[in-house]
Amino acid sequence: MNGWLLAATVGLAGGLGAALWGVATGPLRRRVVAQNLSTALACPSLLLLSQAYNRPSYVDLGLVLALLGPVGTLVFARLLADELAEDPPRAWGLTWTVAGLGAAAVTALCVATGPSRAMVKLLVIGALLISGNAIASRALSGGFRGVRGG
């Protein structure tokens, strides 16, 4: 058990567990936010697991999750647009907290990796993760009403 593995376990068990609980219970506005944050929590955990087990291929899982997680949320935002317009979710504090956790994990991994192509890859994944979740959160709270008919 090293520090990376501990951090990944806390992220998966605590963060993802809480997110899954949020998805399964409560009103719709809470469920969609928890669904959005679940991928934002799982992605940094996969990156940490990659470092913990020294298996670079795990980073690709994080990359796929950082890309497809926000896309999945956008599908929910589109399909549930009418329900969400009546009771729009507002969870910017939680969204930016999770984004900060992701940024902290990516920063720590970059320091451990050192300047190399692998570090640039981590930075790309981090940028995708944070920007994707910011866009998905904005879509959930009705920030893109002009394109709803789209």
Binding site: P56, S57, L63, R117, V120, K121, V124
Partner: protein, 60 residues
């Protein structure tokens, strides 16, 4: 297509190609000639698609 628009189109394609090829170079695990060849080809296809998508969105 005038020479000016052809030049602009070529410049845009080259810009997309450079960006996508760099992305490929960052994401692969081992750098060898085969990876570079596949990456260059994929980046060309991606550059054509990116320009088509950009024109579809902006309408020009």
């Amino acid at each position: 297509m005038t020479p000016r628009t052809a030049l602009l189109a070529a410049a845009e394609l080259l810009g997309w190609w450079v960006a996508l090829a760099l992305l490929w170079l960052v994401l692969i695990s081992t750098v060898d000639p085969l990876e570079l060849a596949v990456g260059a080809g994929s980046a060309l296809v991606g550059a054509l698609a990116a320009r088509a998508a950009r024109r579809a969105v902006t309408g020009s």
